[in-house]
Every structure is written in structure tokens, then in C-alpha cells.
């Protein structure tokens, strides 16, 4: 579990900061690239770094899902739409807003960052009233990594899990209906 954290704290810290810095740098590059394809690939890089951080934070299953679902499926859909609409070539006119817009966005961003940082430094309650779930390190040793996730997903959150399937079905039908090309004959 937290083996690296316990026995190699220096290496763990270095790796953590490395992936964190790469994630932030990739995110900045993602926001500033003109070409949508380049932006999408930088975003994929951010997601890979986050997957590495999830694994370092003892969430190996979430890390794997991050690579499979986010970097693998969702971003492929984005790149596919960019290709479908033939937006790969950045137009001569950049889509980034003018100087005033960028300054306003920067000020708003700094204000938000300061606010969130202050909130993050506040004390967390020692005991949240969550549904009972066993996830101490000792329990992890016997239940494994996925066991606690499955236990709460299929017990406390079973209703939410089932509702998720309805959400996905609705999304699929909605996407097909919205994306359907209407011919000149059936204008409904």
C-alpha cells in the first residue's frame, strides 16, 4: 500500500512533485495551444500524470480507470470530433480572447486560486459522518485494493450505481437523436 511512502520518502516525494509539475506545465500548455489537436494531446498528458498520482495515493484502481476511460475513451471522442469537423488546422484568427479578456480571466483565476488555497489550508474535520466503510491500512491488507470500493459501491451506493446506467442510456439516446442528420424530407 503505502510502501514507497514509508521506506523511500525522498524518492516518493521527488516522484510526486515531478508528476505534479509535469501536470501543471501540461495544463498550461493545453490552455495556451491554438490547435485543438495539440491541446487535446496535452490534456491527455495531464491525465496520464494524474493517473500516476492516483497510483501514488493508493488508488490504483482509479488510476487504471483514469487511463482507460479518460485518456483512452473520452479524449479519443474529443479528437474524433475535431477530426470529423475538420478543425485540426488552427484558423488564422486565434480563438483566444483579446488582451482585456485575458487580463480579466487572469485576475479571476488568481482570486479563485487564493480562495481555494485558503479553504484547503483550513482544518478538516477529524471524523466525517460517512457511511461505515473499512479502509484503514490494516483492513486494506485483507480486503485488497478494489474490495473496499466494491463494498461501498454495491452496498451503500447501489441505487446511485443503478441510476447511473439510466443516465448512460439517456445520454446515448440523446447523443444519437441530437447528432442525427435530418434529411430534407423528414423535417421533424
Amino acid at each position: 500500500m503505502t510502501m514507497g511512502n514509508q521506506f523511500y520518502p525522498l524518492l516518493y516525494g521527488f516522484t510526486f512533485y515531478f508528476f505534479g509539475l509535469v501536470a501543471v506545465a501540461s495544463a498550461v500548455l493545453f490552455v495556451t495551444r491554438k490547435s485543438p489537436v495539440a491541446a487535446a494531446l496535452w490534456l491527455v498528458n495531464v491525465m496520464f500524470c494524474l493517473a500516476a498520482l492516483y497510483i501514488m495515493l493508493d488508488a490504483q484502481f482509479v488510476g487504471a480507470i483514469q487511463v482507460l476511460v479518460y485518456a483512452g475513451a473520452i479524449m479519443v471522442v474529443f479528437v474524433f470530433v475535431v477530426m470529423l469537423l475538420n478543425l485540426g488546422h488552427p484558423s488564422e484568427l486565434s480563438d483566444i480572447r483579446g488582451k482585456a479578456g485575458r487580463i480579466i480571466a487572469g485576475v479571476l483565476g488568481l482570486a479563485l486560486l487564493a480562495e481555494v488555497m485558503v479553504l484547503a489550508r483550513s482544518q478538516f474535520p477529524a471524523q466525517l459522518t460517512l457511511p461505515a466503510a473499512v479502509t484503514t491500512d490494516a483492513a486494506l491488507g485483507t480486503a485488497g485494493i478494489i474490495g473496499p470500493i466494491a463494498a461501498s459501491l454495491f452496498r451503500q451506493y447501489l441505487l446511485a450505481f443503478e441510476l447511473t446506467s439510466i443516465l448512460l442510456l439517456t445520454a446515448i439516446i440523446g447523443a444519437v437523436v441530437i447528432g442525427k442528420k435530418r434529411g430534407p424530407t423528414d423535417a421533424g
Binding site: N5, Y12, G13, Y17, G20, A23, V24, A27, V28, F30, V31, A39, L50, L53, M56, L57, A59, F61, V62, I65, Q66, V69, Y70, A73, I74, V77, F78, V81, V82, L85, L87, D95, I96, R97, G101, I104, A105, L108, G109, L113, V116, M117, A120, F124, L130, P131, A133, T135, P148, I149, S152, A160, T164, L167, L168, A171, I172, A175, I178, G179
Partner: protein, 97 residues
């Protein structure tokens, strides 16, 4: 590593917000929203070490909603592109009074 993770999460979320505010390309704005969702996921995972696996369950739900949102949102973008031949938000002003 909790404090570092939360700080990184706040930083990534802010970069996503600045991206939404500064770009006009609808697809890139969508990707910025995905970046914000990822930042929140990092918070969930970091706090799940403290409070139990519930945080990781929520990350799975967030990913599901993100996938559904990407499918519907990109379908809307494709439908708009058919009408306007553009995904630039300045050109999409049908609801403007």
C-alpha cells in the same frame, strides 16, 4: 502528501477556469471542463486516504457523468456546426436579445 495534492488540485481547477474564460472554441472549452473534473477527482482521491474508499466511489461516478456529458455535448457541438459551420462561441448567438 494531502496538502500538496489539494494545492495541485486547486491549481489545475484554476487553469481549467481560466481556459474556459479565455478560449472561444467550444471543443476546447469542453476539454477545459474535463480538466476541472479531473482536478476535483484528484481532491476526492487525496481525501479518500483520510476518510475511506467513498471518495474513490465518487470518482467513478464523476467519470461516468463526464463520459455522458462528453457524448451529449459533442453531439450538440456537431449539430451546431451543421447549422453555423463554426464552433466559435462568438458565432453562436441565437439566444442573444
Amino acid at each position: 502528501m494531502l496538502a500538496e495534492s489539494l494545492a495541485l488540485s486547486a491549481l489545475l481547477f484554476t487553469i481549467g477556469v481560466v481556459g474556459v474564460l479565455t478560449r472561444r472554441n467550444a471543443i476546447i472549452i469542453f476539454m477545459c471542463v474535463e480538466l476541472m473534473l479531473n482536478a476535483v477527482n484528484l481532491s476526492f482521491v487525496a481525501l479518500s486516504r483520510l476518510y475511506g474508499a467513498t471518495g474513490q466511489v465518487f470518482v467513478i461516478f464523476v467519470m461516468t457523468v463526464a463520459a455522458a456529458e462528453a457524448a451529449v455535448g459533442l453531439a450538440i457541438i456537431i449539430a451546431i456546426f451543421r447549422h453555423r459551420r463554426s464552433v466559435n462561441l462568438e458565432d453562436i448567438n441565437l439566444l442573444k436579445g
